[in-house]
Structures are given as structure tokens and as C-alpha cells.
């Protein structure tokens, strides 16, 4: 019988990656004497090894075996837990990941790195204790033809207590050949003395078989310590024949097949190369599709909700069968119920894609550990709010920007230990990651207690790079914004960690493309805080419905600062067409949407008009609208996919009455307006006094 194991490989891989993460986080927190953690790490390595062996990933098994041996020594207390060993183990985890990934994608791996780490591991594990030469080819002498074996099997009386039953042993033997059994009952006590749980019999067996003696011994493998066993070959019915020539060959072939990446013979490598490439591309697509683990409770609540939906549906269709006006009230309540069901169902479905942000945070302890080693600074990472949930698609795309921000914090933020001590700070710098929900958004904070951002240096650098004029007056927040300009870097010297000046602009762009924004706060000498605001999901948006003329538009709620009715006294007309509105300390340009989009409307009068103040790129503008309608969640449909990219519009949605409404792209609209009134904008830029620099 053959069983196809390939169906279990994806789950093995998923499990292995989880195991690796567990090992990594365990190793990072490992303290001498922490047996529980060592056990957990060992277990993870052990499972990976066992699974890899079963599923035929031999190079993973071999490598993990070394790791396991080292961990085993630590587990048994034979080896002290030293930071050197931990480093090697961390490196090994990387190698295991590499090997498993290469097994998954069926591509080659960095052989050199593996062999280097293997070497280091082996050296650590005592140079003299030679690694088991697992590949020794056993040369077996097999006897062709049948042999008669006499087997004397005298079990201990307690044999049954370990769950062994001779009858099954005999039936296993019977499968090997022709078996005759003879039980000896002479030890059987008198009936009164019999303990029903004891075994008093012994047997004389005769087996005529073609198999090797070792196979017979193997049948008794589990009971050999609990019985007297004698196996003697009585006679050979045919001549002995040496089969050595065939056997080892088969073994070698099997080995080649299982580890063709290691084989150095060029012919084999060449012939398999094409296949490997193809397999790689094929598998790329597969791994991108991705899978998601959903808690049973979430699925249960979905099923429950669908059940309720079905009930409501059947109630409504019942109602529709013979409907008259007396039943209107029933219909209304039925529809209300439907609304409730749909809403709950939508929320539950969205929750399925929500994962705790610990998935994105999990790589940072290692990152900070490595950065600390590389820079020679002392620092620790504090993670808070790991259970905050975030849409999977957002999570996947926020990883890299976060890595960049953390690297920056470690490299530019945290000072060298001597400097910190000289400034009266704790020698160990702290970088903290925090995630929490705020309104319909998730906020991720990256804090460091380092040097903070020196506005003078940033300013001078920007002048030097020709980004701004030396005479410009800028607020702190505007100076922080300069950090996100392409090609900007303040690091005194470029390190390989960060400081090449590519990055912060990309970070900002990535966050913007997710519909989020980044905000910087910093105190010189105390530290900096980067706040990333992100929508919880990319599929649904909280929007404010507005009308202009006959059109309905949606303004993303995240962009709205406030909505108000214009007070005539606060209007300030400046040069050209530009009209400014005094909003407390700010002068906000008024942007009539009907002008921007060339719409016909009756509401062209600014006095007493409705104004929605929105903010993007640290720039506030007031959008003049005809009317404010409801706030609601809308499902975003891409315009690009269904039509084409349109400036000022980020997407569309279908409203309850079936009509299509455009979702306004606030930064795009501001850019449009800026083009129209660039001169007026420049004159007023200096007057803004917002404390924080916000960028959308």
C-alpha cells in the first residue's frame, strides 16, 4: 500500500516556520538556567527534525540533528548556556529556515553558509566526538531461499502489562513465512493460584521463511528485555547466495534521488536544473497565494450568523408569498433584522482577515539583537499591544517600512553607550513598539529614548542638499517632514544598517499607498517617536458622504479634521482666486469642489456654505460642499481596475440606492488645487503653526 505524503507537506512547512520563530524568540530571551525555554526550543527543533525526516527533506534532518544535539546538551545541563552558543544557534535557525525554504521552493540554497554553520556547530559539539556517519552503507548478506528457524520464546510473566500480546507477535511472524507454534503449559499454576493478569505460557515456534534473521529479531524488538528469546537457523533448504551486489546499489540510488542538490556529479545537476527553475517559478506563485489560520471561534460565529441570515430570509420569503398592506410592519422589522444580520456577517468576515500584529512584530527582537551586536550599542526592545488586530493585507505591506523605522531608531536614534552615560541616561537604550486602535485606525508607534532629531542639523543638511532655501523659516514639524524627502540623510557616515538616504521617502510612500500617514514627534536629547496611522483594512473605508450639485462623493473619514459652516467674518480674500478661512491659528485655503471638478451647482456662494476641513501632507484645506449626508462604511472598488486612474479620485463605491459614488483622494485634490494656485500657497506657507508635521 502506498500513501501519498505530499498533501501533508504544506502543513509541515507552516509548522516548521512557526517552530523556527519559536526557537528564535526563545533563543533571544534565553537566560542560563531557564530550562523551560530550552525545552521549548528543543521540542521545536525536534519536531522539525522528525517531520523533515518523514517527508524526505534529508538535508534539513541532518542539519537539525546537529542543532538538536547541541540543544540536548544544554537541556541536560551538560553544557552551559553561553552567548557564543546562542549566536551559533541563532545562525543555525537562519540556516534551517534557508534549507526549509529551499525545500519548499525547490531551489538551491546557499551551500557555503550551511557548510560554514555546520562546521561551527560541529566544532562546538566537541571536535573529537565524530558525527555519526549516518551514510554508512550497510552491506547485508541476504540468504536466498528459505530457512527454517527454531524460536524459543519464554516471556516474563508480566509481559502483558506493557500491552504486548504474543498472539500479535505470532501473527506478525506468520506474515514472514510459514509458522507453526507449540505452547508449553507446564508452568501453568493450579487454577486457584492463577493471577489472570500474568502470562504463564511459553512457546516453541518454527518459522520457515525467506527473510533474514534480523527481521525476525525485529518482530521481538519490543519484548526482547522481557523474555528469553533464542532464534536458531536449523537448516538451509537451498544454497547461500550473496546478494550484496544488488542491495547497496539500491540504497545509493535512493540517496541520490533524495538529495540531488548535494550531488556533485555535473550531469545530474545539469539535467535537474531546468526542472528546478520551473519548479521555483511555479512555487513562487503558490506561496504568494498564502493561507490564513482562523480561530475556530471566528468560524463558529460565522456559521451562527449565516444560520440567522437563513432564518431571516425564509421569514421574508414567507411574507412575500401573500403580501398585503397589513403586513408592512412585519416587513419593516424583517428588513431591519436583515440589516442587522448583514452588518454582523460583514464584521465577522472582516475579522477573519484580522491577525494580531505580533505576526509583524515577531521579527523585531532578532533585528534589534543583531543591530545591537553590529553597532556595539546597548539597546533593548519593548513590545506592547501585540494582540492588536490588523488586516492581513495591511500587515504584509507594513513589515518593511517598520523594519526601516526600527533600524533608523537603532542606528540614528540610540546613542553610543559612552555618550548616553555622559548625558546621564541609562546605558541601555530602549526602542519600543506599540500598537493600538484609535477610531477606525490602528496606530503603530516606534519610540526610542535616543538623541532625538536635531532640527538645526536637518535644516542645514536640507540647505546643503538644495532642498530648501537658507532663508526659509520652518516650524519643527516642517523640518521633520524634510526627513521624508528623497535623497535625504543626516547620518555623519553611511553605515550598512541605514543612512544611505534611500528609505524614509520610500517608507512614507508605502504608508501612503496603504491609505495611512506617518507623524513625527521628537525632543532633542530625549528621543523620537514615529507614529504610523493605518486603516484597519484596505477593503472597507469609513467615509463621509457629501453632495455637490447632483453628485455624491465620499471623503475618507481619516482625512477629515472637522466640518463647519463658514462664518463670513473669518473669510480672508487674498490675491487672485485664493480665499482663506481663518480656523483658529490656521489659515485654511477654501477649495470649492464644484470649481475643481467643473460641476454645475446652485451653491456657489461662499458665505454660510458648508466647509469640510481635511488634512493631507501636513496641509489643511477646506472643501466647500453643498450638503453633508451620512457617515457610513463603504466598500472600495478600484477605479484603476474597472476604468482608469483619475486624478483626485482614489476609488468608487456603490451606494445603497445602487448609484456609484466617487471616493475623493485628498492628497490628489490638494495637488490639483496647488497647481491652480501655487503662488498664493507659497505666500501663506510660513504662517502655519501646526505643532506636529503630518503627512498623508
Amino acid at each position: 500500500m502506498s500513501v501519498d505524503l505530499s498533501q501533508f507537506i504544506p502543513s509541515f512547512l507552516e509548522e516548521s516556520f512557526e517552530g523556527l520563530e519559536l526557537m528564535e524568540s526563545g533563543l533571544l530571551n534565553l537566560q542560563p538556567g531557564d530550562n523551560e525555554t530550552i525545552h521549548a526550543i528543543f521540542r521545536a527543533a525536534h519536531s522539525i527534525k522528525g517531520g523533515a525526516g518523514t517527508f524526505g527533506f534529508d538535508n534539513v534532518t541532518d542539519f537539525t540533528h546537529l542543532v538538536e544535539t547541541l540543544l540536548d546538551e544544554m537541556r541536560d545541563g551538560r553544557r552551559e548556556i553561553s552567548s557564543v552558543d546562542t549566536e551559533i544557534l541563532l545562525e543555525s535557525v537562519d540556516c534551517m529556515r534557508l534549507l526549509i525554504e529551499s525545500a519548499r521552493d525547490e531551489v538551491d540554497f546557499d551551500q557555503e553558509k550551511i557548510s560554514q554553520t555546520t562546521k561551527r556547530l560541529t566544532e562546538t559539539l566537541n571536535a573529537d566526538s565524530k558525527q555519526e556517519q549516518s551514510k554508512n552503507v550497510e552491506v547485508k548478506t541476504t540468504i536466498e531461499g528459505e530457512t527454517t528457524y527454531h524460536i524459543s520464546f519464554i516471556p516474563e510473566h508480566s509481559l502483558a502489562k506493557t500491552g504486548n500480546d504474543p498472539i500479535f507477535l505470532f501473527s506478525a511472524l506468520a506474515e514472514l513465512g510459514e509458522l507453526t507454534t507449540k505452547a508449553n503449559t507446564q508452568d501453568l499454576p493450579a487454577l486457584n493460584d492463577i493471577d489472570p493478569q500474568e502470562l504463564y505460557l511459553s512457546w516453541q515456534l518454527t518459522l520457515i521463511t525467506a527473510v533474514d534473521k534480523s527481521e525476525i529479531v525485529e518482530v521481538f524488538e519490543w519484548v526482547e528485555d522481557e523474555c528469553l528469546l533464542e532464534i536458531t537457523a536449523a537448516e538451509t533448504s537451498t544454497t547461500l547466495n550473496d546478494k550484496t551486489e544488488q542491495e547497496p546499489k539500491a540504497v545509493i540510488e535512493a540517496e541520490i534521488a533524495s538529495s540531488n542538490q548535494e550531488v556533485e556529479s555535473p550531469t545530474i545537476v545539469n539535467s535537474s536544473n531546468n526542472d528546478t527553475d520551473k519548479a521555483a517559478t511555479k512555487n513562487k506563485g503558490k506561496s504568494d497565494a498564502g493561507s490564513i489560520r482562523v480561530g475556530v471561534d471566528k468560524v463558529d460565529s460565522l456559521i451562527n450568523l449565516v444560520g440567522e441570515l437563513v432564518i431571516t430570509q425564509s421569514m421574508l420569503s414567507e411574507l412575500g408569498n401573500d403580501f398585503d398592506m397589513t403586513k408592512v410592519e412585519k416587513l419593516t422589522s424583517g428588513l431591519e433584522q436583515l440589516l442587522q444580520n448583514t452588518k454582523e456577517l460583514q464584521e465577522s468576515v472582516m475579522r477573519i482577515r484580522m491577525l494580531p500584529i505580533s505576526f509583524a512584530f515577531s521579527r523585531f527582537p532578532r533585528l534589534v539583537h543583531d543591530l545591537a551586536t553590529k553597532t556595539g550599542k546597548e539597546m533593548e526592545l519593548v513590545i506592547k499591544g501585540e494582540q492588536t488586530e490588523l488586516d492581513k493585507t495591511v500587515m504584509e505591506q507594513i513589515g518593511d517600512p517598520l523594519v526601516h523605522l526600527v533600524r533608523n531608531a537603532a542606528d540614528h536614534g540610540i546613542e553610543a553607550t559612552e555618550v548616553r552615560v555622559a548625558n546621564g541616561k541609562p546605558a541601555k537604550g530602549t526602542i519600543s513598539l506599540d500598537a493600538y486602535h484609535q477610531g477606525g485606525n490602528i496606530v503603530i508607534e516606534i519610540n526610542d529614548d535616543g538623541a532625538g532629531i536635531d532640527t538645526d542639523i536637518v535644516f542645514n543638511k536640507a540647505v546643503e542638499k538644495g532642498l530648501i532655501d537658507a532663508n526659509t523659516t520652518l516650524t519643527d514639524s516642517q523640518i521633520y517632514d524634510l526627513l521624508f524627502e528623497p535623497g535625504f540623510s543626516t547620518a555623519a557616515e553611511v553605515t550598512d544598517i541605514s543612512g544611505r538616504g534611500v528609505g524614509m521617502d520610500v517608507v512614507k510612500r508605502n504608508i501612503q499607498s496603504l491609505g495611512g500617514r506617518i507623524q513625527v514627534e521628537s525632543t532633542k536629547g530625549k528621543g523620537s517617536c514615529f507614529k504610523v496611522h493605518l486603516p484597519l483594512t484596505l477593503a472597507i473605508l469609513d467615509g463621509q458622504l457629501i453632495t455637490v450639485g447632483t453628485e455624491t462623493y465620499i471623503i475618507p473619514l481619516i482625512a477629515i479634521v472637522e466640518s463647519l459652516q463658514i462664518d463670513n467674518k473669518l473669510i480672508n480674500r487674498v490675491s487672485g482666486d485664493m480665499v482663506l478661512y481663518r480656523l483658529r491659528d490656521d489659515n485654511v485655503p477654501i477649495l470649492p469642489i464644484y470649481q475643481l471638478f467643473n460641476l454645475e451647482t446652485d451653491c456657489t456662494e461662499i458665505d454660510n456654505a458648508l466647509l469640510v476641513v481635511v488634512e493631507a501632507d501636513g496641509q489643511k484645506v477646506g472643501l466647500m460642499v453643498d450638503d453633508l449626508l451620512a457617515q457610513q462604511q463603504v466598500v472600495i472598488k478600484s477605479l484603476k481596475e474597472n476604468y482608469q486612474q483619475v486624478t483626485g479620485v482614489s476609488g468608487a463605491t456603490i451606494l445603497g440606492d445602487g448609484s456609484v459614488a466617487m471616493i475623493l483622494d485628498i492628497p490628489g485634490m490638494i495637488a490639483m488645487a496647488l497647481k491652480q494656485a501655487q503662488q498664493a500657497q507659497l505666500d501663506n506657507k510660513g504662517k502655519e503653526k501646526s505643532k506636529t508635521g503630518e503627512l498623508v
Binding site: 500500500m1 502506498s2 500513501v3 505524503l5 498533501q7 501533508f8 507537506i9 502543513s11 509541515f12 509548522e15 521549548a40 528543543f42 521540542r43 525536534h46 519536531s47 527534525k49 522528525g50 517531520g51 523533515a52 525526516g53 518523514t54 517527508f55 534532518t61 502483558a160 502489562k161 506493557t162 500491552g163 504486548n164 500480546d165 500479535f168 507477535l169 501473527s171 506478525a172 506474515e175 493478569q197 518482530v219 524488538e221 519490543w222 528485555d225
Partner: protein
């Protein structure tokens, strides 16, 4: 039908063992660690228990010892899945009352052939 309790913390191994047994006509119940295995064992009767050794919450050796204390598991074959074929490991298993052991890696054919030594 022969009923087997499969205890392993690794999903893939558990699935594989369970799938192999099912395809050979056995009935299986899965448990994700020793603790889970023990409570599932108490809730039913089994003809065979196959358990991993290294598991969180309760390891296989402890599970084996606990099972042997239950009257209905006094003679039930208990096989340990292990990657360690050392004598030490086997002795520990034996003294806890294990019937035998299966050394990982094993293939489905081997698994089916081996358990024939203890069940129908």
C-alpha cells in the same frame, strides 16, 4: 473496528499517522499533547495508543504512565514515536509501561507493518 488514539503536537505528523491508519481501515482519534491525549483516553476506549515523546503540557512518557494507571488501559498497547533510538529512551519508555516504540522517520508502510505486532 480497531480504534487508535494518535497523540502528537505536530499537526503534520499527526495528520500523516492518522491518515495512514484511516486508509488502512483503522478508526482514529487525534490529540495534540499528553494532556489532551489523557482526557480523550478517559472519554473512550481504544485498542492502541500512538504517542509522541516530546510534547508541551504533558510528555509522552508521563502520558504512558498515567494511562497505565487507568483500568481500561492496563493492557492497551502504547507505542511511542521517537527520533531517539537510544537504549536510555527505550528503557524510560518501558519503565513507564510503553509497549514499543516507532523510530522517526518512518514511512506509512513501515507504520502499518509495525503496529500489526500489537493490534489486529
Amino acid at each position: 473496528m480497531t480504534k487508535v488514539l494518535v497523540v502528537d503536537d505536530s499537526n503534520s505528523i499527526r495528520d500523516m499517522v492518522s491518515f495512514t491508519l484511516k486508509s488502512a481501515g483503522y478508526q482514529t482519534v487525534e490529540a495534540k499533547d499528553g494532556q489532551d491525549g489523557l482526557s480523550k483516553a478517559k472519554s473512550g476506549s481504544f485498542d492502541l495508543v500512538i504517542s509522541d515523546v516530546n510534547m508541551p503540557n504533558m510528555d509522552g512518557i508521563t502520558l504512558c504512565g498515567e494511562l497505565r494507571k487507568l483500568p481500561s488501559f492496563k493492557f492497551t498497547p502504547i507505542l511511542m514515536l521517537t527520533t531517539e533510538s537510544s537504549t536510555d529512551m527505550k528503557m524510560r519508555g518501558k519503565s513507564a509501561g510503553a509497549t514499543g516504540w516507532l523510530v522517526k522517520p518512518f514511512n506509512p508502510e513501515k507504520l502499518l507493518a509495525t503496529i500489526k505486532r500489537v493490534v489486529k
